[in-house]
């Protein structure tokens, strides 16, 4: 198969005006593309995760898949790797129909996924991991020598002979584990490798080694789909790119010649501005002052000031350290150094002390951390502030008042909270902070995975907290949905690789500026580890 690089097809630059990268690749070459995805759709409940995606990748090509959080990249990869079945659309592999029933079938067909969370068996050796499920045997017994040799050969081919086949996988550094995982895919004959954010947890030198490996794999004729948030990285490594937005393909083409600006514009698109309630805000005295807060390892020397009566937004990519910042503030994660001054209280504190001082976190992860799903609404709502003797006759009207105020649709305070919809669960989680009466609310992705109506109610609720309450509250809101940040917040700061940039008035930001700063960092620094 002819090796294809971007320069072979100079005419297929796409800028979102409806040109189809798939067609241009198909035109430019006699043989069918290695991977061809057309019109793939997938719906989860009320969310249309994929609304007709097209993607074409040739053999011997590194293809960057770009898009904001929630654009549909992960879902597309799950579809490709057989973890999720699409509702509609077709996929082809080297021109043959491809519809894997499960990840094993996908691997059998030659498509391997290298996930962000590595999927090695940490207790087994490198050789055992590389040949897991494809162990060479002699009669009934494992052929250990053949296993060792084949694993060694696979690692050698990847130019990583220093990884010993008999080392225990879990003891290797993360970067080496990633190589082992790639070796596993290559050893069983995979022709398509999908790498999901492979550099997000790597140091710079390890990332360089990975890029070199990707070039070698490309030279061997593999097709590599490379998912990333980091546009500069994509520009260095990829031959071509595709941008997803709101579950659809919005553009793509040859990487050579495409500017960061053009790509960001594609990622952001021209959105219809939604209406966000924004009452008259009059920020008062500072409630929370954070100086050089250092977590382990994130956040990296973060500083911020939060005033009474304002909403401070924090933008950034998933994994940038935004959640870690909130958790450190709430006393849930250890603070290595730096100062947190909350009203009259200074220094680190336990979660219980933070509640008592008037600052608490509403977790982004309702199911794992935010709520005890098996317990009742009343239990969840009052958990942080229970009297020594719990009297249902008193608690019930109290709970009902919050349920009415926040318009929670439920059967009553005794219903298990796990039976509610996401939006109603989220309202209960926020109601807990209100019931406790905290002054500073740390809201981590407060509208993730909930319906539009509930979102609007939560926006209104947040606005009310800083405008209609007396005295007004203060809110820090972390969100990956930029229009919401721009609409709800007074000031916004961007976090990138653990570092928190300066907070600027929301009016001074645009979506494009937020995306750019999130993907590059305000000072262009590398990993904060």
């Amino acid at each position: 198969m002819a090796e294809r690089v971007a320069s072979d097809t100079p005419g297929d630059r796409v800028d979102g005006a409806g040109l189809d990268p798939a067609e241009s690749v198909a035109r430019g070459s006699g043989s069918p593309p290695r991977v061809e995805v057309r019109g793939v759709k997938k719906r989860y409940g009320a969310t249309q995760a994929l609304a007709g995606v097209d993607l074409t990748v040739a053999a011997g090509e590194v293809h960057a898949l770009l898009g904001q959080n929630g654009a549909g990249k992960s879902t597309l990869m799950k579809v490709l790797s057989g973890a999720v079945r699409p509702d509609a659309g077709e996929m082809k592999l080297d021109g043959a129909a491809y519809a894997p029933a499960d990840p094993q079938a996908a691997r059998g067909a030659g498509v391997a996924m290298i996930y962000q969370e590595l999927s090695l068996a940490p207790h087994l050796t490198v050789a055992e991991n590389v040949l897991l499920g494809a162990e060479p045997r002699r009669g009934l017994l494992l052929d250990r020598r053949a296993m060792h040799d084949r694993a060694a050969r696979a690692l050698d081919e990847l130019h990583h002979p220093h990884i010993r086949p008999d080392a225990v996988a879990g003891t290797l550094p993360l970067a080496a584990q990633q190589i082992v995982e790639i070796a596993r895919a290559v050893a069983v004959g995979c022709r398509v490798l999908v790498l999901d954010e492979p550099t997000s947890s790597l140091a710079q030198t390890d990332a360089e080694a990975l890029f070199a490996l990707m070039s070698r794999l490309r030279a061997q004729g593999h097709a590599i789909i490379y998912i990333t948030h980091f546009i500069e990285e994509a520009q260095r490594v990829a031959d071509r790119f595709t941008v997803l937005r709101d579950g659809g393909t919005v553009g793509g083409g040859a990487m050579a010649g495409a500017t960061v600006r053009e790509i960001v514009d594609l990622m952001v698109g021209r959105r219809v501005e939604q209406l966000y309630p924004h009452g008259a805000r009059t920020p008062g005295e500072p409630l929370l002052e954070v100086t050089h807060l250092q977590g382990a390892p994130k956040p990296a020397r973060a500083s911020l000031t939060l005033h009474r009566g304002e909403v401070l937004g924090i933008a950034g990519l998933v994994g940038a350290g935004r959640t870690e910042l909130l958790r450190a503030l709430a006393g849930l994660d250890p603070v290595v150094s730096g100062a947190i001054k909350l009203g009259v209280h200074a220094g680190p504190a336990s979660p219980a002390a933070r509640w008592a001082q008037g600052m608490a976190l509403c977790s982004e992860n309702r199911k794992e951390e935010g709520l005890a799903l098996g317990l009742s609404i009343a239990d969840n709502l009052t958990l942080s502030k229970l009297p020594a003797v719990v009297r249902p006759s008193r608690r019930r009207p109290l709970t009902e008042r919050w349920l009415r105020q926040l318009d929670v649709r439920c059967q009553g305070p005794d219903q298990p909270v796990g039976e509610l919809s996401g939006g109603n669960q989220q309202k209960v989680a926020i109601a807990r902070l209100l019931h406790h009466g905290v002054d500073v609310l740390l809201l981590d992705e407060p509208t993730r995975g909930i319906d539009v109506a509930s979102k609007a109610q939560i926006y209104d609720l947040i606005d009310g907290l800083v405008t209609r309450e007396h005295p007004a509250k203060a809110v820090i809101m972390v969100s990956s949905y930029l229009p919401e940040l721009l609409g709800v917040c007074d000031r916004i700061a961007v976090m990138s690789r653990g570092r928190l940039g300066p907070a600027r008035p929301a009016a001074a930001w645009t979506e494009a500026a937020l995306v750019r700063e999130a993907a590059t960092g305000s000072d262009g620094e590398g990993a904060a580890a």
Partner: protein, 341 residues
């Protein structure tokens, strides 16, 4: 589950009957109670048909209650532990240790009340050990209590010099004895009354106190509990202390029945205790379980045993039946859960 857009706003006070029926805890216990009734009716029919015996005879009922008490009391503690998401395998060993301590104290001339207190203190100490190991070493409770099961058993054997300790008779032995003539007004022996009182206390603790709700929260979602500022370690310590205390009370009952300190007694009893809690709707993954359920669970097992032996069935049949019942009961509970989810 869908969020029922059709549902009206939370209604202020629905009818009591509807509220009772809507309470999942009650529905769960109804299932276990129906199971108990089923087992009871089954043996009543079998015994009446084959041997002409009345299973529902008051004397027989009292016997079953008396025999259930030891497991049921220990199950009160185990319910607390299991609701918190933990497990305590050292219950049998703690019971044995308590009987030894009480017998040794009595033989040394201590007044019965003091001897009983010494037994309870031994239970509390063992519970404190479990709690400290679980919270300080961060080893999973299964392993910690597997270790203390052997450890406590060893201490009991050492204290007793690997022999049974005979103790002089005292009023302690009447706790679980058949009521003497003339004491019929008591209906049940004092030990059974003690079980009732403790059951109400533990039920109240779990449902109506801050500690109780914190125990449920830790068992249901430890991370969420931490997020809410609950001192998870302190809650767990309290849980294992209570577990040890109720094992101690069960030890007192055991001593009352045997009139001796037996360092090898109550072996494997922890499994009956856990089975009782689980049959009564407790979930080993935490966050679920009730005192009523656990007592019903203990009664189901004792009724089975009693019925089987009155039928003249050999021991091995009893064991097969009991084992099958445990599996069926829990499978039914899971099935109900899946349907509800």
């Amino acid at each position: 589950m869908s969020a029922d857009a059709a549902q009206p706003h939370p209604t202020g006070a629905p009818g009591l009957a509807r509220r009772l029926f809507a309470s999942p805890a009650l529905r769960k216990n109804l299932g276990a109670a129906a199971g108990l009734l089923g087992v009871f009716i089954l043996f009543s029919i079998l015994l009446a048909a084959t041997r002409g015996l009345t299973f529902a005879d008051p004397d027989n009922l009292e016997t079953i209650l008396r025999q259930t008490t030891i497991v049921a009391v220990a199950a009160l503690g185990a319910t607390i532990v299991i609701v918190s998401g933990g497990i305590d395998l050292s219950v049998g060993a703690i019971i044995a240790l308590c009987t030894v301590v009480i017998a040794a104290a009595l033989r040394a001339g201590a007044p019965p009340a003091l001897a009983a207190l010494a037994g309870l203190a031994a239970g509390l100490a063992a519970g404190a050990l479990n709690g400290l190991l679980v919270t300080r070493l961060r080893v999973v409770p299964f392993i910690v209590t597997l270790g203390t099961m052997l450890l406590v058993r060893g201490v009991a054997k050492g204290l007793a010099h690997e022999q049974k300790i005979d103790a002089p008779k005292s009023w302690l032995n009447e706790l679980l004895a058949r009521l003497a003539p003339g004491h019929g007004w008591m209906l049940f022996p004092p030990g059974v009354w003690l079980l009732f009182v403790l059951a109400v206390a533990v039920g109240g603790l779990l449902l109506y106190t801050r500690l109780g709700r914190h125990i449920f929260a830790v068992g249901s979602n430890e991370q969420a509990a931490r997020l809410c500022g609950i001192a998870v370690s302190r809650v767990k310590l309290a849980v294992y202390l209570l577990g040890g205390f109720f094992a101690g009370v069960a030890g007192l009952m055991q001593f009352s029945r045997l009139t001796e300190g037996d360092p090898t007694g109550a072996s494997g009893l922890e499994l009956n205790v856990i089975a009782a809690v689980v049959i009564g709707g407790g979930s080993l993954s935490g966050g679920e379980g009730s005192v009523t359920g656990a007592i019903i669970g203990a009664l189901i097992m004792q009724t089975l045993q009693s019925g089987c032996s009155q039928m003249g069935w050999p021991n091995w049949v009893q064991e097969i039946v009991t084992g099958a019942i445990i599996i069926v009961a829990v499978a039914l509970d899971r099935f109900r859960h899946r349907r509800a989810a």
